[in-house]
Symmetry: C2
C-alpha cells in the first residue's frame, strides 16, 4: 500500500522554472503568470488558489488568494504573498521586478476571456501572449520523480486489475463493478480526481464498457465512448449489466501524487468468440510492432503510421481506433499531470520521441453493436528504447462462468 | 433504486430556449453560441461535443463534432449537423440565418482566450459579447423536471447517510470511508462526476473530514477544506484515520441525471464533547432562523445576515463559516447542473429569492486544530416558503465505540 502525501522535491521545482526561463528568453517573453492549477502545481509544488509570477530576471513570487499558510508549507518558493483578489497582483509583481513587464505569458489555451479582459486592465500596459506551448513542451519530458509517481499509480492499477479478475461476475452493472474497483483503488492511494486539459474535458477512472457499450461512441475523442449514466454524463460505465461471453473493456486510469497512468485490458466471463480473440491478438501485434521502433529520435507520427498500416494489413481497416467514419487520429497520448498531454502518437505529430516521455499506447478495435477490443499500457521512453510502466499480464483475462 | 438514463423532456428544452431569446432581445443580442458542455446540455438535452447556435429569429441548430448520431437521438432540436471542426461553424450558422449576426453571445466566463481569438476570425465580422449572465439568470430557476432530478440525487444521498451510520467505524481512513460510500452511491445511480463552473474549479463527492482535517483549510472557497491526498489534490478526504470522539463531517454530494444535491451531517464514534454539541445546536438554530425567513421576495443577502448575526450573538464570531481571518462570505450556494450557481446566500447578493430556486444552506463552524461542525441541506424555494429536498435526520449521528 502506497498511501502518502507525496511532495515534489524543491530542486525539481527550481529546475522546471529555470527551463521555463530558458524558453521565455528564446521567445522574448520577459515574464510568465501561471494561472492554471496543474501548471501552478508543476512550477510551485502547491495547488493553492492563486498565481505564480515568474520574471525572466529575478525571483518567482506566489500570490495566493486561498490558502496562503498551506502554500508556504508546500512550496519551495520563498516569496509567498497573500492577496485579497486578483486586483492585488500588480503590487505583488512590483515586489520582484523593477518595471512592469513588456510581455506576460499566460496559458491562453485555458484562461477564460473574462479573466483575460479583467487582467488586461490590471496589468496594463503589458502585452499578454500565450505561454501554453512553452509549458507543454517542458512538461512533456518527465523527471525521475515524476516517473516514480507514475510508477506509484501503476502499482495501484496492478492491484485493481488483480482485484477485477478475482471479483468479476456477470449480472452486476458496469457502474457497480467500476465503482467497486475505484473504491479499492482509492483505499490504496488513488486520488480519485483525474485531469484533462481544455474546456469541456472531463476525465474519469471508470471507463468500463461491456459488450455493445464498447461500441457506443460519445463526445469523447476516444475509440470507445460508453453509455455513461445520462445525456448529462454520457461516457464511461453505465447501467448495462455485464453478461457472459462478451468482451469487457476495463480501461481504468489511476492517479497518484497528481500523476496518471492509463491502461486497458480485456476481460470476459467465459470464452470470447474467435473473432474477438483474433482481434485481440492483432492489437498485441500492433502494440509490439510500434514498441519495437519506440526510441529517442523516432517521430511520433511514424509510430502512428506503423500501427495504422499494420491494422490495415491484418484486415482491420474499418475497426481500428473506432468504427468506420468515426476513427480517431491517434494511437497514444502523453500521460503525466494530465491525461492528454504531449507527446501524441498521432497523425501530424512529427516531432521525435525523447527519453523521459511517458504516454499511453492504446491500439483498439471497435465492432459496431458488438464491442471494443484492445490493449493499453503506459510507456516510458528511455535512453535507448522504452520501458512499460504497466505491470499487468497481457492475455485476455477470462474468468469462469458461475 | 433509481437507476435510469433520465432525459429532459423536449418541451422543457424549447421553453428554456425561448427564455434565452427573451433575454437576448432585452440585451440586443441577435444570436447565442452555446459552447460549454453544461449549458449545451441545458439548452439542447445532449452533451455531445459541439456547439448550439440560437438565433433570435428562427430555429436553433446543433453543430456536432462528435458524436452526431447520439446528439440526434438525445436532443429534441430538429436541425443537427455534423462538423469536422470549428471552421465549419459559419456555414452551419448560415443555414438558419439570412445574414451573419451582428452580436453573438458566448459564455466568456469559461471560454478560453485562444478559442475566442480563433472564433473571432471565423465569425468575423460579428461582435462577440458575454452571454453567461443571461444563461446563469435563466438557470437559477428550476422546473418541475429539474427538481425531480435533484430529488433523485437526494434519494441516493439519504441511502448514503444511512449506510454511513451502519458502517462507520474508527481506524479506517477518511478516503477509505468516502470511497466505500461513493461506490454504493454509484450503484444506486449517482453519476460520480460533479461539476463546478470556472477555471480550476473541481468538485468532489468525497468531502469527508474527521477531527483536525475539518479545520484544515485549502484552496477551495469553503469553510472546511480537508487535507486531500497530495499537494496535487489538496482537498476533501485524506489518509488520516478516523478516531473516536472527534467530529466527522460527512459533506457528500450526489448527482443524478446531471443534477446535484449537497448535504452534510456530523457523525461521531462515541460521544462528542459539549463544545462540539453546543456548536452543532447553534448551527441548527442558525439554519432554522434562516429558513423561517426563506420565501420569495426576501433578499439572499438578508438570509446571509440573519445567519452571521445569530452566529455572533451565540458566541461563534470567530468560528462561523471558517476560522478567524479565513471566513467565507456565504452561507449557501445554488445547486443544479453545477454546484456553484445562483442564488448565492451571500454578502452582496441583494436579489430576491424566487420560487423554483434551489440551494444548499450550510451553516458551519470551524475550530482550529479540532474540527468542523455544521449542517447542510438542499432547499427549494416554493410559492410561499421553502421545502427541504434533503431527507436525512438532523441530530448528530453517533455510532457506538467498538
Amino acid at each position: 500500500m502506497i498511501l502518502a502525501y507525496p511532495m515534489p522535491p524543491g530542486e525539481e521545482i527550481f529546475e522546471r522554472i529555470s527551463k521555463l526561463k530558458e524558453k521565455m528568453k528564446q521567445h522574448k517573453i520577459d515574464s510568465c503568470l501561471i494561472v492554471q492549477n496543474v501548471d501552478l502545481f508543476y512550477f510551485s509544488g502547491t495547488m493553492q488558489n492563486g498565481y505564480l509570477f515568474i520574471p525572466l530576471e529575478g525571483e518567482p513570487i506566489l500570490a495566493i488568494k486561498r490558502y496562503a499558510p498551506r502554500a508556504i508549507i508546500e512550496s519551495p518558493i520563498k516569496k509567498v504573498r497573500e492577496i485579497g483578489s486578483v486586483k492585488d497582483l500588480s503590487s505583488v509583481i512590483k515586489e520582484v521586478v523593477d518595471e512592469i513587464p513588456k510581455k506576460i505569458g499566460i496559458e491562453l489555451d485555458v484562461f477564460p476571456v473574462n479573466n483575460y479582459l479583467f487582467l488586461k486592465q490590471i496589468l496594463f500596459p503589458s502585452e499578454i501572449v500565450d505561454s501554453s506551448p512553452l509549458i507543454k513542451d517542458i512538461r512533456k519530458i518527465k523527471s525521475a520523480y515524476e516517473i516514480s509517481m507514475i510508477e506509484g499509480a501503476s502499482e495501484i492499477a496492478k492491484k485493481v486489475y488483480e482485484l477485477a479478475e478475482k471479483t468479476l461476475s456477470p449480472n452486476i452493472t458496469e457502474m457497480e463493478f467500476a465503482a467497486f474497483l475505484e473504491a479499492h483503488a482509492r483505499k490504496w492511494g488513488h486520488q480519485g480526481y483525474l485531469r484533462m486539459r481544455s474546456l469541456n474535458s472531463e476525465a474519469l477512472s471508470w471507463h468500463i464498457l461491456s459488450g455493445k457499450s464498447g461500441a457506443t461512441l460519445s463526445y469523447v475523442d476516444a475509440p470507445a465512448g460508453g453509455m455513461g449514466t445520462s445525456p448529462a454524463f454520457p461516457v464511461g460505465a453505465g447501467f448495462k449489466k455485464i453478461k457472459e461471453n462478451e468482451p469487457i473493456l476495463v480501461d481504468f486510469i489511476t492517479c497518484y501524487g497528481g500523476y496518471h497512468t492509463d491502461q486497458s485490458r480485456i476481460f470476459s466471463v467465459g470464452r470470447l468468440n474467435k473473432k474477438f480473440i483474433d482481434a485481440y491478438e492483432a492489437t498485441l501485434k500492433i502494440q509490439d510492432a510500434i514498441l519495437k521502433e519506440a526510441k529517442p529520435g523516432v517521430s511520433c507520427e511514424t509510430l502512428y503510421e506503423i500501427g495504422v498500416n499494420l491494422a490495415d494489413k491484418l484486415g482491420y481497416k474499418n475497426n481500428f481506433m473506432g468504427p468506420r467514419d468515426y476513427q480517431v487520429n491517434f494511437i497514444g497520448h502523453g500521460v503525466g499531470l494530465e491525461i492528454n498531454e504531449f507527446p501524441f502518437i498521432a497523425k501530424g505529430h512529427v516531432y521525435p520521441l525523447e527519453a523521459g516521455m511517458t504516454f499511453a499506447l492504446e491500439p483498439k478495435m471497435i465492432f459496431p453493436d458488438e464491442g471494443a477490443i484492445g490493449i493499453e499500457n503506459t510507456i516510458l521512453i528511455t535512453d535507448d528504447g522504452y520501458k512499460k510502466l504497466t505491470d499487468i499480464k497481457e492475455e485476455i483475462i477470462e474468468v469462469k462462468k458461475e
